[in-house]
């Protein structure tokens, strides 16, 4: 479904992504894990057109989308939920959802937009209760759900999620991940996920890539990555006392 071939990205003169190749199959949940500064967010931003591709190619459903502007990619069906719950705080939950559905409004009109919002509120009942409230007054978990709901409003085929668990309590994280897994099953969504909380992410994933300083170091089934001692030590926060000989 999504295929990256030798993608390079720069911040100024610094080469951040060094020939990154990866793929996400139809209906798969794939997790990209790695330490801070490994280039995970850059990878996601490069896919969704927020960051220019210096070299290499990106294919989405066998179509070359390298260098496409972000808005066209959204129309094509790639939705990006950025890091840090970027919602519009001074606006109400309802307005936020309407904004997320601007494409629905553009193509199908108001009626369809309304039904889409209702569907979202079905999916995230908490948001229904908070509908008239300012988005900024929501709790962290609710804000994250709103961010995901906004992305889903554009009716994407693929969801790019950047650290959905950031700054959330463990119980809420579990809830969010359960929802992501359900979304994938119910809506046949394909998901590319970045996570610091690698364990929770890998638990719902099919496969995973390990990234380090802009390079892919490992590609494995999610279960194998979870069992991999080095991954455990480096990214899952266990066995910290052990040292590399």
């Amino acid at each position: 479904m999504l295929r990256l071939v030798n993608v390079n990205s720069h911040y100024g003169l610094v080469r951040v992504l060094k020939n990154v190749s990866m793929h996400v199959g139809q209906g798969e949940i794939v997790t990209l894990i790695g330490a801070n500064g490994a280039g995970k967010t850059t990878t996601l931003r490069t896919i969704s057109g927020l960051h220019p591709v210096k070299a290499g190619r990106i294919y989405f459903q066998d179509r070359d989308i390298t260098g496409w502007p972000a808005e066209r990619l959204v129309e094509l069906g790639i939705a990006h939920v950025p890091e840090g719950r970027q919602i519009f705080s001074p606006m109400s939950v309802n307005d936020n959802l309407e904004l997320g559905g601007h494409l629905v409004y553009k193509h199908y009109g108001k009626k369809r937009l309304k039904s889409e919002i209702d569907q979202m509120l079905d999916l995230f009942p908490v948001l229904g209760q908070r509908r008239p409230q300012y988005a900024g007054t929501l709790s962290g978990g609710e804000q994250q759900m709103l961010a995901i709901a906004m992305a889903l409003m554009s009716g994407p085929r693929m969801l790019l999620l950047d650290e959905p668990s950031m700054g959330l309590a463990p119980m809420i994280i579990r809830d969010i991940f359960a929802r992501i897994a359900r979304l994938q099953q119910e809506r046949k969504l394909t998901v590319l996920l970045i996570e610091q909380n690698a364990k929770a992410a890998l638990n719902i994933s099919d496969r995973g890539y390990v990234m380090e300083t802009g390079r892919i170091l490992l590609e494995e089934e999610a279960g194998a990555l979870l069992a991999n001692p080095e991954v455990k030590r480096a990214y899952l926060g266990r066995d910290q006392r052990e040292v590399w000989e």
Partner: protein, 430 residues
């Protein structure tokens, strides 16, 4: 047609090359970070793994030999700390400095997957009883087959090779349906059946996978017609997992290489140049899924031809022709490997000087026989009969012990053979 993992075995070529590129890039990044040997090698040619953008660029990298591996004996080629290694094997090559191969838990899982594909490919199911008549310990092969058979859910009899008469009885009583062995052992079992007056028709045998040594089509016909089974070839080497690297599908038109785990090339052994499909050359393997012991462009020493055409079985992975010959002086006899150098060193150790000698391999009664022919010089010839006999016995014992089975020694007059031709292989495979 049965597949173990249809999605991968029949993957379209485009997706497969994406998988290979990803695997290769990740493997190169990992070995550059964790293995000193590769880091040094890559720096010498000014190559950064992150600069690799296509599978073709692999051809620019230096080749890896068995010598490189033994030079880094024991653990220097490992890409993970020993703590993460759950299994250690050593090669069938009895070099003075052997090679140690490590497996992580995930490598073991992958190995099981690879051999399961092989077994399922020829028709093995969970209903089958698999008799593994290969030497456990000396070879890594039986362990891999066992993993794969257990992954399928078949019942495994890890019986090892030897005590053939007892094995035949077990084969009959346990209702063995799949035999895994070397062709030599298979023929030995057939003879044992004849000696015991047992009818192969009364056996439950259906399939056989044979490997670890080269075997001719004639041998296949003999095994198939006398055991009433379908016999398939398998290829693997301990450095690269063992069995599961390449194997024959029921079409029996070459061996499929598991291309999601290995990148295979065929090179001219003299120049190192990559040859086009169809031409005979040395098989070179790059692993793209191994964690503990990754190999980049490893020279196997085996001669083969590459076939990229679509196979009748539906698998998209490329095929190599059956392997009969080697391009180095390594002899593969009865599943063990030996070089003239090694024999020479033993002779030198016993007598104090390396004589002129020749190794002759014959196939007698479908069993490989090895004869070391030695030129009788002063150091090797004694006037006293008793002394002479004791000396030859000593040689015979030393070499047989090294090989693990009976080797014949023959002293001849100078000039009876060409001393520059160290190996004479009288077996006919093709």
């Amino acid at each position: 047609m049965t597949y173990w993992n249809e999605q991968i075995e029949c993957m379209d070529r485009e997706t497969l090359s994406q998988v290979q590129l990803e695997g290769l890039q990740a493997t190169l990044n990992r070995v550059y970070k964790n293995v000193r040997h590769y880091r040094k090698l890559f720096r010498e040619i000014d190559f950064m793994p992150e600069d690799l953008t296509s599978l073709d660029m692999l051809q620019q990298l230096p080749l890896l030999t068995r010598r490189d591996l033994s030079r880094n004996y024991p653990y220097d080629m490992f890409a993970v700390p020993l703590r993460e290694v759950v299994r250690l094997h050593t090669t069938a090559f009895n070099f003075e400095q052997p090679v140690v191969i490590g497996f992580t838990a995930n490598d073991m899982a992958n190995w099981a997957e690879l051999t399961a594909r092989n077994l399922a490919g020829i028709g093995v199911t969970r209903e089958d009883v698999v008799q593994i008549a290969l030497n456990f310990g000396i070879m890594s092969g039986p362990f891999g087959i066992q993993l794969g058979a257990e992954a399928i859910g078949a019942s495994v009899i890890p019986i090892s090779a030897g005590k053939l008469r007892e094995q035949v009885k077990i084969m009959r009583d346990f209702k063995t349906s799949v035999l895994i062995s070397t062709p030599t052992v298979a023929l030995g079992l057939i003879n044992a059946m004849a000696e015991l007056d047992m009818d192969p028709h009364g056996m439950a045998l259906k399939y056989g996978i044979f490997g670890a040594e080269p075997w001719a089509e004639k041998t296949r016909q003999e095994i198939e017609s006398r055991l009433f089974i379908s016999a398939s070839d398998t290829y693997g080497l301990t450095e690269v997992f063992g069995p599961g690297v390449a194997w024959e599908c029921p079409a029996k038109k070459g061996l499929h290489i598991a291309e999601d785990h290995f990148i295979a090339e065929v090179i001219d052994p003299a120049t190192g140049e990559v040859l086009p499909p169809g031409e005979e050359g040395e098989l070179v393997i790059t692993t793209i899924g191994k964690e503990a012991f990754p190999l980049i462009r490893f020279r196997t020493g085996d001669l083969t031809r590459m076939d990229n055409t679509q196979c009748a079985c539906g698998r998209t992975h490329c095929r190599i022709s059956r392997l009969f010959k080697r391009c180095d002086d390594v002899l593969v006899v009865r599943g063990t490997s030996v070089t003239p150098d090694q024999i020479g060193r033993i002779l030198a150790r016993v007598s104090g000087e390396e004589p002129r000698f020749q190794i002759v391999v014959d196939r007698e009664e479908s069993k490989d026989q090895l004869v070391v022919v030695i030129e009788a010089t002063d150091t090797y010839f004694f006037d006293e009969m008793k002394k002479q006999r004791r000396f030859v016995e000593h040689l015979h014992r030393e070499i047989s012990e090294f090989m693990g089975w009976e080797v014949n020694i023959r002293l001849v007059e100078p000039g009876t053979f060409d001393p520059y031709q160290k190996v004479v292989d009288n077996r006919r495979f093709e």
